[in-house]
Amino acid sequence: MTAPTSTSAVVTAGAALFAEELTRQGVATVDVDWRPPVSGTEDALATVMLDPRRVTANQEALARMVLARAQLTDVRPAAEVLDLQPGQFLHAGPPIEWERASGPLRGALIGATVFEGLADDPEAAERLLARGSLSWEPCHSRGAVGPMAGVVSPSMWMLELYDDVHDRYSWCSLNEGLGKVLRYGAYSAEVIDRLRWMTDVLGPALQAATRARGPIDVLAIIAQMIQMGDEGHNRNRAGTLMLLKEWLPDLIAADLRRADLAEVVRFVSGNDHFFLNVAMPACKLITRAASGIPGSTVVTTMARNGTDFGIQVSGTGEEWYVGPAQLADGLYLGGFGPDDANPDIGDSAIAETAGIGGFAMATAPAIVRFVGGTVPDALRTTARMYDLCVGENPSWAIPVLEFRGTPTGIDVTSVLRTGQLPQINTGMAGRVAGTGQVGAGLVTPPMECFTAAGHGLAAAVPSPHLPGVVRT
């Protein structure tokens, strides 16, 4: 008896015996390292995965994400672009009330209240905020994104990005730099002064340069930075330099005071994370393109407010699924330690949602040292993220992976079935309002978000049709 030969492998899941018996016949197998799904999600998963819309819906979601574009078209005040009224703020993550708000979010709201001149000092600002005289809602609810606390007030200038394929805008504030900054919950005088300078000088200068330059293709810059060792979340050096390079001729040609020009260039080039606030709304345009496809299980938002971690998934649109925000694992600045860190905060996980950041870790081995990791760890992280995603983005090619595209489109069902969580690269804010940044590291969402999303998606599946008519 000759063993049957086949060039095709058999995929096996379950009893090892059957794989062994295939091997005995000379048939190659690829054996799944199978684990039971997250307990309690079995029936919801079956409903969702057997939904006949799912496969094409997820293909559509991936296609839209790959097709989306993001051009930096303007820089304008939030009041103008987001219709933000005095006393209204935006913040990172899912909605949250003052009582449950984390230290850094409270600190940033306090700072923004002072910055807007609604209170004379932080104490007065805090009283106003606690009393409910002011209002805030998620950046995501208006199509915007904000790093860390993500607080946006009407006077802040916003980067405006446009997706001409899907005719949609997204916005993000200007990055303030590292250390004691509003987005990390600091609100001291130096923080407020910097915000004033950004509003008075930086914003108008960048507006002039952007308008003179014409639209800047942000996705093309991201494609190049990924080939230059940036993952677009915790490392944005190449991206920042390339963006500055695009602006420089028109900045110089703009009608600016020479000292202001020097300060603008010094500020942008001195802040390695300036491009983060450009990458984030670009990622938002990508993920938002995939939002609202009935039956799709692709994650379109991951965002944290320092208390809750919230996700949104394509098939259920704007619905938030929340769980407790986790503490990051990483390195601490100066004298800070784990006790000083606030749980995970910021909309910046939109980077991972779109396929960069932690998902592109393989391209940025420099930052695995934030958690004492190794280069193989970085490669392994990206390899694992492919297993959670519906596809890849060929425009964002990782050289060390033979130019394989970044893992794109987190599938809720894959997370629930494997028990593996998306890897997010993040900064860490101080727990106490006013502290600022205390470190940076790696974090994952809580499984609760995905469990809730699984049930939410299942509830949105139409009742199964009656057994169909048999072909004749």
């Binding site: 095709s8 096996t12 995965m49």
Partner: protein, 493 residues
């Protein structure tokens, strides 16, 4: 000569990739020059020098394709080739080398790692549909060994398969042979003209074994799951499997083995079978219909081979004399295969009257939950309810061995009828433990031995060991059942 220039807005590729693409296209015989590049000033001026008209509105973030080709057809061919090259997936590397790559955690990720057209799923029934759906979505056929899969899952999977042109074998599909590869509990078959569609695993195995005994080969045996021909599932996989076999030129004769379908489904299947343009033998096992052995004989005739009665090994024992001649004596059937159990009951019911079973025929007695014997008793140890949380009896024979010991010691037991199934995944040596128990008793034991010449356990050695212990062994389950019935003394219960 014709020059074509095309701009694709906002399509970024790194320059090395583009130079590689250009080089590959330039190697085409119908092409004079091709340049595929980002529309940077440098690249545009190079195109100027080459005599191309500079495209309007091209920016450094746009892709420009410039072609100097013989004619429009060549231009189109080159652009098509470029499209294919750009679609070409880069190597699926992890950067780590395959050794360190984490194992794939799902069927979909496993399917991305290798060229594959088939998945074998044996995960717990409640969630097996997740893995099966993954396989279908990845473009694979799937065999679902798992039992206890909800029927709603089965229907949804089979509908999904239909839209994707894939086949679902199962759930509760014990046996399949695809292109000669044995999946699950499959016998080693030689290639040949027969294609099997089986709603029953051990029914299919009996057929494969008898065809092998007649030297008739089988290319595919496509399992469809025991519920496929029910009024709920309505033959979804049976029809798809028939189409597969009809399309396969190596298959000249098709046979369907199953319990009788729901009447309305039987109609649909019969009509579909008649439309395939190949002979289809419908082996629906039921009272008054041909047993599996008769079906095998029909198949052998249809392919023009010679049918002889299947093998019988050993002299067997005479019935023991009961201590109390007035006491009733009964047949006890202990089966690993559900269809083999069914077939034996159909034969026994013809002369023994009412039978008791955990899978009773219509009009017969259902055993109590403790499965205590009650008159002529047949137990299917492979039934779904007995395999929750434990291996199939073909893998773990111990529950049946214990029961065999009890029956052989029971003065009401006149004869024991057993099946022993060989093949891939079945116990490596099913005969030794059985033989020891059989040899320790004087009660007659009749065994139906389901196996092919090439099965790993060895057909002849297995038969020899059982015969040596005192059993009589048949290659035909039907013949075994008839001999066991003939050995029962005492009237109907």
């Amino acid at each position: 000569m014709s020059q074509v220039i095309e701009v694709r807005k906002g399509t970024y590729h790194d320059s090395v990739t583009l130079m590689q693409l250009s080089q590959e296209l330039n190697a085409r015989p119908d092409v004079t020059t091709v340049v595929v590049a980002m529309a940077t000033e440098l690249n545009l001026s190079m195109l100027d020098d080459m005599g191309f008209d500079r495209p309007a509105e091209a920016t450094p973030n746009d892709l420009v394709i410039a072609l100097d080709v013989a004619d429009d057809a060549a231009a189109k061919a080159a652009l098509d080739a470029l499209g294919e090259l750009m679609q070409r997936q880069p190597a699926r590397t992890s950067g780590l080398g395959d050794q360190e790559l984490p194992s794939p955690p799902t069927v979909a990720t496993a399917a991305r790692r290798a060229q594959s057209s088939l998945a074998l799923v044996s995960t717990p029934g409640r969630v097996a549909a997740l893995d099966a759906a993954d396989a279908l979505a990845s473009g694979l056929d799937v065999m679902i060994f798992s039992d206890n899969v909800p029927v709603s899952h089965e229907i949804a999977l089979k509908d999904m398969a239909a839209t994707m042109g894939r086949l679902v074998m199962g759930p509760d599909c014990g046996t399949a042979v695809v292109d000669g590869i044995g999946l699950g509990f499959a016998n080693v078959v030689r290639p040949g003209p027969v294609g099997v569609v089986a709603a029953s695993g051990t029914g299919a195995q009996q057929l494969l074994a008898l065809l092998d005994g007649a030297d008739v080969g089988v290319t595919h045996c496509l399992g469809v799951g025991g519920r496929d021909l029910s009024s709920d599932v309505r033959g979804r996989s049976t029809l798809a499997a028939l189409d597969r076999l009809a399309a396969d030129d190596t298959v000249t004769t098709i046979v369907v083995v199953s319990k009788p379908p729901a009447p309305e489904v039987a109609d649909v299947v019969s009509r579909h079978a008649a439309s395939l343009g190949k002979p289809v033998i419908l082996g629906f096992l039921a009272a008054g219909r041909p047993d599996l052995t008769a079906t095998a004989a029909e198949v052998v005739d249809a392919v023009g081979a010679r049918w002889e009665d299947p093998r019988r090994w050993g002299a067997g024992r005479s019935p023991t004399t009961p201590t109390d001649p007035a006491a009733s004596r009964y047949l006890r059937g202990l089966f690993a295969g559900g269809t083999l159990c069914d077939e034996a009951m159909l034969i026994a019911a013809e002369s023994l009257g009412t039978l008791s079973s955990n899978i009773p025929l219509a009009g017969h007695r259902h055993l109590d939950a403790d499965l205590a014997s009650n008159g002529h008793t047949f137990i299917d140890f492979g039934d779904d309810q007995l395999t929750v949380g434990r291996p199939h009896p073909m893998i773990d024979p111990s529950p049946r061995l214990e029961r065999l010991e009890r029956e052989l010691a029971d003065s009401e037991c006149a004869v024991v009828l057993l099946d022993v199934v060989l093949g891939y995944a079945a116990h490596a040596d099913p005969a030794t433990d059985l033989a020891a128990v059989i040899a320790a008793s004087d009660t007659p034991v009749v065994v139906s031995l389901i196996g092919t010449r090439d099965d790993p356990q060895g057909l002849e050695p297995t038969a020899a060991r059982l015969v040596e212990a005192g059993a009589v062994v048949h290659a035909s389950n039907a013949a075994a059942a008839r001999e066991a019935v003939s050995l029962v003394s005492g009237g109907p219960a």
